[in-house]
């Protein structure tokens, strides 16, 4: 190639890059609504309704939360754990939603994966997880930060994601232990493989709590507590829906990463509770990846085009990947779907399709559970005896009765999250 030709190629490349950057810049600038940014506000959603639930307090906490906050996060304000201490911890955590925090600081902390809170507090808290690359995890991260900012005693917040790498996840845990953090909250994507580092942290006096029913063997011994719904009861609730709505036929299960405790929990119990006339024709992990969901659902539909129902954790991934698979196969998106989460996107798709043969039953995604996990850790540091499990009751919602398509929420966001909407819009403009 001659020198002139090389110059021409370079010119073309530079031009292409310039066009790309200008286009990207103009795209980012256009279509965006000017929003009034709120510098500070309540750390959670506090509705207009009056009334609180709970009384008393201890270990630096008040066991009281607004009815509106509880109803927003749990569907019903009374869906609290039955164990007294677990209930008090939940009320304490969710009640902190009324405390004012600095949203600019929260956003900075969220974008930078950690920050100093500026209070000079003696505690450092860490949220460490195996995988953080979806909106649910990023929203949980913000919930953690908002709860942490309500504690003047917390001086530093750390966040780490291992990007689906087990070795990295273990290394991250060891790293925060070596940094002498005061408390750790985590979602154990790799299940019992995390036991050694959980034990190491516990031995070092660092409370470790999990959320979203991130169950690892030995809560109360190997680590402080697991927060979430009883996934076995969740599975039974899914089975109840299938037994009454599907009655007979083929259904499928989808899960997250292979071996993760959340999927294993509900799938085992749902399988056992199903009527003999209902057959589970597939049970596949999706790594909580919408494109993998599309491939898996496509494969299931190839074998079972008359699939009557499907149970999965993530509603939005089915709205994206699953719906794409049905559409490509020219099969109507109909059947009974039971989900653990309540993303707005699935609700909006349900509303758009307006198909009476499409039935969706869902539970809360549970982002606020991470606040309960952190508060449990903080109460442990204050000397409280924390129950090994903090279990929320299950009540599935029917999309035909309670609309998941909540205005203003990004499609991948759960509308039961306690992140104030103005802050959520700053997270995802």
């Amino acid at each position: 190639m001659r020198r002139n030709d090389l110059r021409l190629v370079v010119l073309m490349v530079v031009s292409a890059a310039a066009i790309a950057l200008v286009a990207a810049g103009s795209g980012a600038a256009s279509g965006k609504h000017a929003t009034r940014t709120q510098a500070s506000g309540p750390s959670g959603v506090v509705g207009k309704g009056k009334g609180t639930i709970g009384k008393g307090g201890g270990f630096g906490e008040k066991y009281q939360a607004p009815v509106s906050t509880l109803a927003h996060a749990l569907f019903k304000a009374t869906l609290l754990p039955s164990n007294k201490m677990a209930r008090n911890i939940s009320l304490a955590a969710l009640g902190r939603s009324t405390k004012t925090v600095n949203y600019d600081l929260a956003l900075k902390c969220w974008k930078n994966n950690g920050c100093s809170t500026g209070t000079g507090g003696k505690y450092t808290v860490a949220y460490v997880e195996g995988f953080g690359e979806n909106v649910f995890r990023q929203m949980s991260k913000m919930e953690f930060i908002l709860d942490a900012l309500t504690y003047p005693s917390i001086g530093k917040i750390i966040y780490m994601s291992a990007h689906s790498d087990l070795n990295q996840a273990i290394a991250d845990f060891k790293s925060v232990i070596a940094q002498h953090v005061s408390a750790i909250v985590t979602y154990p994507d790799f299940g019992d493989a995390m036991i050694p580092v959980f034990q190491q942290a516990t031995k070092a006096g660092i409370p470790v709590s999990t959320y979203a029913w991130g169950y690892v063997t030995g809560p109360g011994t190997n680590y402080t507590t697991v927060v979430g719904e009883d996934t076995c009861k969740l599975g039974k609730a899914f089975a109840y829906v299938m037994n009454t709505q599907v009655k007979s036929g083929n259904i499928a299960f989808l899960g997250g990463f292979p071996g993760n405790p959340l999927s294993a929990g509900w799938q085992t119990c749902e399988q056992k509770a199903l009527k003999p006339s209902i057959h589970v024709v597939a049970n596949d992990p999706t790594n909580w990846d919408p494109s993998k969901v599309q491939g898996i659902v496509s494969g299931i539909l190839a074998k079972t085009p008359d699939l009557k129902g499907l149970s999965y954790e993530d509603a939005e991934f089915m709205a994206q990947g699953g719906y794409a698979a049905y559409k490509a196969a020219n099969i109507p998106y109909q059947g009974v779907f039971t989900y653990r989460t309540d993303e707005a996107g699935m609700g909006c798709l349900y509303d758009k399709l307006k198909d009476p043969k499409l039935k969706v039953f869902y539970y809360t995604a549970g982002n606020p559970q991470i606040r309960v996990a952190l508060t449990a850790d903080m109460m442990k540091l204050a000397g409280a005896k924390i129950p090994p499990e903090i279990v929320f009751p299950i009540q599935l919602q029917n999309a035909a009765v309670r609309d998941m398509c909540v205005k203003g929420y990004p499609s991948q966001a759960s509308a039961t999250s306690l992140i104030p909407l103005s802050l959520l819009h700053r997270m995802y403009p």
Partner: protein, 350 residues
């Protein structure tokens, strides 16, 4: 030399050499076609549902996405390089499609231009680092890919999460069918044919192949080797960007893990398609067939209802088997077998 002075033995040797050369070329690229045929027969026996319309409605478009990204990888591998920035380009490219268009059809064109521009820019950066600065391609492209992924993640959070859907014109086109087959499939097939024809029948294409086959000889013949390496990575980046556009149309929306599956799969497709990682000749059509085999195998295992663990085992075993009988190895074995045996040197004197 006229007919009277032509040496018949030399003619026979020339014809024999041409036949041997053709046999070696076929041996390099034929195994993947045979393996795909065997896979189809196996599917017909153990998982006939995998050969149904529903399965193909997923397999064919995704084959094209993998094939287009594998073609980019193929161009790099032909020059003895490797490119691990594929997931980064596809991820950021997909996010640009959604973010620049903001879901609006009238902004689709500029979004596609932005995506292609990104691919070209990243490819050019890789080309400069590898071709001009002579840095190790494995490390450099991995590093560039990580940087691109980081920017993609930031851009996704700021501009895409609130509206992750691609414009309806793109998704409608992608789900549209001509002759009952996805438009994405036809696009991928057309790109494959164009790449094959350009490499085989155009002067720049032949030069490109010559540089990959023997850089030193090409340099001595006056070809600019380093420029061709830069061009290889740049063209690869453009092809990854095209794959991002196709994938965006198929999935209809862009999620934070968009493109993550395209790190090793394109490399596997290239190698199973008969190319050598040391550089040299490669076949666009065989690479396409390898992409089809990999995508179909994945789908077949799901359709069979195997557990996740067994799917990984079977898939890994199939890849290993594919590597054992890969065209590169077959060609090497055949080449050694066809080499004439050397006679023992005569003793000096007597």
């Amino acid at each position: 030399m006229d007919a009277a002075t032509r040496d018949p033995l030399s003619d026979r040797r020339n014809r024999g050499g041409a036949i041997a050369g053709s046999a070696l070329l076929a041996a390099r690229f034929l195994p993947v076609w045979l393996a795909t045929a065997v896979l189809t027969v196996v599917a017909a026996i153990v998982a006939p549902d995998a050969l149904g319309h529903t399965s193909w409605s997923y397999v064919l478009p995704l084959t094209s996405v993998l094939a287009v990204s594998a073609l980019g990888q193929m161009l790099v591998v032909m020059h003895g390089g490797i490119d691990l920035s594929t997931p980064g380009v596809i991820s950021f490219g997909g996010n640009l499609i959604a973010g620049v268009s903001t879901g609006q059809n009238h902004r689709l064109a500029i979004a596609i231009v932005a995506c292609l521009g990104l691919g070209v820019l990243v490819g050019f950066a890789n080309g400069v680092l590898v071709g001009l600065l002579r840095l190790n391609p494995l490390i450099v492209t991995l590093a560039v890919g990580q940087i691109v992924l980081a920017w993609s993640s930031k851009y996704s959070r700021e501009a895409v999460t609130n509206n992750p859907y691609v414009p309806s014109d793109l998704s409608s086109w992608a789900t549209g069918k001509q002759l009952g087959i996805s438009a994405v499939f036809w696009t991928g097939a057309a790109i494959t044919i164009v790449v094959a024809l350009v490499l085989r029948y155009s002067t720049p294409g032949r030069r490109f192949q010559a540089v990959g086959a023997n850089p030193r000889a090409a340099w001595m013949a006056g070809l600019r080797v380093r420029t061709h390496v830069v061009l290889a990575y740049t063209a690869a980046g453009a092809l990854y960007a095209i794959a991002a556009v196709l994938l965006g149309g198929v999935t209809n929306s862009i999620d934070p893990q968009f493109g993550a599956a395209y790190l090793l799969a394109p490399i596997a497709a290239v190698v199973i398609g008969g190319a050598s990682l040391a550089g040299g000749l490669a076949s666009a059509t065989s690479t396409w067939v390898a992409a089809l085999a990999l995508t179909f195998l994945t789908q077949m295992l799901v359709t069979m209802g195997l557990s996740a663990a067994m799917q990984y085992v079977v898939f890994g075993a199939a890849i290993l088997a594919g590597m054992v009988v890969s065209g590169d190895r077959v060609a090497a074995v055949l080449g050694r077998w066809m080499r004439p045996a050397r006679s023992a040197p005569r003793a000096a004197g007597g």
